[in-house]
């Protein structure tokens, strides 16, 4: 799945974050999500979606070779990750996140759960749908 965005459609509900935390950590905790919704209010009045586009800069940055690719998707090897955070700083989309209970950064693995529950089509699968 290639996750694509139509930010203007986002209503800020954060259902994507809830299901992400549930699916990837088996915890009801959107603070462990691999994507983030940021509101820009009162002006200009819209939501921004921070999510990984699998560009691979993180993997290239990691000194410990803790980030590997399978079929165009980058995964973090939690055993190798030292939690240094260099990948987070390098991420051009600012789409890697830190949670106080986790050593490794949290990164999107393109499971598509958020897309499934985004009623608004703000997150969609570019492989199956043209731009919305």
């Amino acid at each position: 799945m290639r996750i694509a965005l139509n930010e203007a459609r986002c209503s800020g509900c954060r259902t994507c974050q809830v299901i992400c935390g549930l699916h990837n950590f088996a915890e009801n905790n959107p603070k462990k999500a691999a994507l983030k919704i940021i509101g820009h209010f009162p002006a200009p009045g819209h939501y921004e979606i921070k999510i990984c586009d699998q560009c691979g800069v993180c993997a290239a940055t990691c000194q410990f070779a803790a980030i590997y690719e399978i079929a165009g998707v980058y995964h973090i090897d939690k055993k190798k990750c030292t939690g240094c955070g260099e990948c987070m700083e390098a991420c051009p989309s600012q789409a890697m996140f830190r949670h106080r209970a986790e050593q490794a950064p949290i990164k999107c693995v393109a499971c598509g759960q958020c897309v499934e529950l985004c009623q608004r089509g703000a997150l969609y699968d570019a492989d199956s749908k043209e731009v919305q």
Binding site: A8, R9, S11, G12, C13, R14, T15, V18, I19, G21, L22, A26, E27, N28, N29, P30, K31, K32, I38, G39, F41, P42, A43, P44, G45, H46, Y47, H99, R100, A101, E116, L117, Q119, R120
Partner: protein
């Protein structure tokens, strides 16, 4: 505890003491959450007769077990206290994201006691709780203050604030959050202001334990997708409640010119479609919402941003004060929101003042200028006078009931309130069940508990039989959503089925309750808040349940229901029927038998201790 944040956070603002106590299983099982917790805590902890704006009152913020989980719209929080507007049980519910955030920080309930010596705000980051100086945001508009604190503390904080109206103790000040969501009713912002608390900022990082994660997630997904599939979802999310004003006019229920009429000439210009074209820039929802009703607007004409106007705001500002330009309504919505005024009460009070002026009951001398219906400057002037408590604003800031008592000359007849709370957006002379819903709402004249205009339409608008039954039923269902931390609009507006909730409630909490059991708990809370009012006011009862005389002495002046009134006899019939169904006496007071049957033996004891005569 499964489904819960797990703790009660108690702050004594006078001493600075912070206490965290685990939420008891009994408390959760018996009272579910949110409004249930609030009612129980206020009953247990408030002494009757205290000053609502004194340090003895407590402001209780609470959410429910479904909030913050994968259910449709689990984003509601309520605030409760003894109301400065009514002197009885007060409570108001709000959406946004702070309900979920509280739970991630580990709290189901936050209790504010005493009063801070100087302007302060609460900083809550998981277990770190501080009472901080708020001098730099005191005096700021509600949204400006939220923005300033967000910039200071970070995007991850969810923040609720009061505006200048709350600071100045205007009796209908609201608590504001997420740049356009408000807990507007019964003066909860006033209580917050009386405690010198400008804001509550929360950031949590914890997980909510679920009783059965796999089934809860599967059911949650099923519920969300059930909402996504509803036929009228698209229309609902395009217009939200802004689609309602034109309908309300068509059926003659729009509170027009301070409720003289139920039809506003030119109302078509307020339609959601026109609003969407002219000003909506974003569809904005609360936490977990599958059907976002927030229409976030940029009002070009006035260069302001505002969420809404939603139906109630349009009803009381456009209807009651007579405006048919949606951009003007958007601007006045913005003004009220920044000042921290509840748009319902503010619109109601200002419409009343305009009528008093038109009738010569108040004069240019008293007001300081001419005021008239349909004039933005008049509205703005009055809103500012109220917020700063200057001149006539100091009287109007006390609410419409008090203002009418001061102005006299028959104005009480058209001070549209019950129990001291200004009437919200439905003129009901042609809708007996809805009239009864407002009359018997535990908070005062408000639609949140029961709203039944469509029932009146379905079974006959002049019919009285069976209307009380419907009101009783709705007074259990609608506030049930305020026990669990969820929005009710998926059920009300897009027709999402009620049956799903008990099931997911079970997977999340592990408490095995049927829908009937949950409705019984809702009924228990209803009896408790009625008893709360009686504990406060010795002669409480039937006489507090009547609408203003306008509704039974004057006829609707125009529109499809022109000529309609409800007679006093009809009102008596409705009340008799209602009290009877509730198991209360003729005076509308719970009987010993009813209270005991509801498991409220402790209420019986206390009322008897105060020499209240229980039948």
């Amino acid at each position: 505890m499964n489904g819960y944040g797990g703790n009660v956070l108690r702050l004594n603002l006078s001493t600075g003491e912070v206490k965290v106590q685990p939420l008891g299983v009994e408390m959760a099982r018996e009272w579910i959450g949110q409004r249930g917790f609030i009612a129980k805590i206020l009953w247990d902890e408030l002494k009757p007769g205290i000053d609502p704006l004194g340090p003895d009152n407590k402001l209780v913020m609470s959410t429910g077990p479904l909030a913050g989980t994968l259910v449709p719209a689990g984003g509601k929080v309520s605030f409760g206290a003894k109301s400065p507007a009514t002197g009885i049980y007060g409570e108001s519910c709000m959406g946004g994201h702070i309900a979920a955030e509280m739970k991630y920080a580990g709290y189901d309930v936050i209790i504010l006691e005493g009063a801070a010596a100087k302007p302060s705000y609460l900083y809550i980051e998981d277990d770190k709780v501080e009472i901080r100086d708020a001098a730099h945001v005191w005096g700021k508009g509600a949204m400006q203050a939220e923005k300033a604190l967000k910039d200071e503390l970070g995007e991850d904080f969810q923040i609720c604030t009061i505006g200048p109206a709350g600071e100045k103790l205007v009796k209908y000040a609201c608590i504001s959050h997420d740049f356009g969501r408000q807990a507007g009713r019964t003066g909860m912002g006033t209580v917050m202001g009386s405690k010198n608390i400008k804001a509550i900022a929360i950031c949590g990082s914890k997980s909510i334990p679920l009783a059965d994660m796999t089934t809860a997630v599967a059911k949650g997904k099923e519920m969300l997708k059930g909402c996504f599939a509803k036929e009228n979802l698209d229309e609902w999310q395009d217009y939200g409640t802004a689609g309602v004003p034109v309908w309300a006019n068509k059926i003659g229920a729009f509170p027009t010119k301070n409720f003289q009429s139920s039809y506003l000439e030119g109302n078509e210009a307020l339609d959601g479609k026109i609003m969407r074209e002219k000003m909506v820039i974003n569809d904005k929802g609360c936490f977990g919402c599958p059907s976002p009703c927030g229409k976030y607007c940029y009002v070009k004409e006035y260069d302001v941003y505002t969420e809404g106007p939603e139906y109630e705001t349009t009803a009381l500002i456009a209807g009651s004060c007579v405006f048919t330009d949606i951009e003007q309504v958007g601007y006045m919505n913005y003004l009220c929101d920044e000042m921290g005024l509840d748009t319902i009460s503010a619109g109601n009070v200002i419409g009343f003042a305009m009528e008093c002026f038109e009738k010569g009951i108040i004069t240019t001398e008293q007001v300081g200028r001419e005021i008239k219906f349909g004039d933005v400057d008049s509205f703005k002037f009055l809103a500012e006078q109220i917020t700063t408590r200057q001149g006539i604003g100091n009287v109007l800031a006390e609410g419409v009931k008090y203002a009418a008592e001061q102005f006299g000359r028959g104005s009480t007849n058209f001070a549209i309130q019950i129990k001291g709370l200004e009437w919200s957006g439905y003129e009901s002379r042609s809708a007996p069940s809805n009239m009864l819903a407002y009359m018997t709402c535990d908070l005062g004249a408000h639609h949140s508990r029961a709203w039944s205009v469509t029932h009146d339409m379905a079974v006959g608008r002049k019919v009285l039989e069976g209307k009380a039954q419907k009101v009783v039923e709705l007074q259990h269902i609608r506030p049930f959503f305020d026990l669990i931390g969820c929005c009710r609009l998926q059920w009300v507006e897009i027709g999402f089925e009620l049956e799903h909730y008990p099931e997911i409630f079970r997977y999340i909490t592990g408490f095995d309750y049927s829908q009937d059991d949950l409705m019984k708990i809702s009924e228990k809370v209803w009896n408790l808040t009625r008893a709360f009012a009686w504990r406060e006011i010795e002669d409480y009862g039937r006489k507090y349940d009547y609408p203003p005389a306008r509704f039974y002495e004057e006829a609707v002046t125009s529109g499809p229901n022109a000529g309609d009134t409800l007679t006093k006899e009809a009102l008596e019939y409705l009340l008799d029927d209602y009290y009877n169904l509730r198991g209360w006496n003729k005076n509308g007071l719970p009987t010993r038998e009813k209270l005991e049957q509801m498991g409220l033996g402790f209420v019986v004891q206390e009322l008897q201790g105060l020499s209240r005569k229980l039948a």
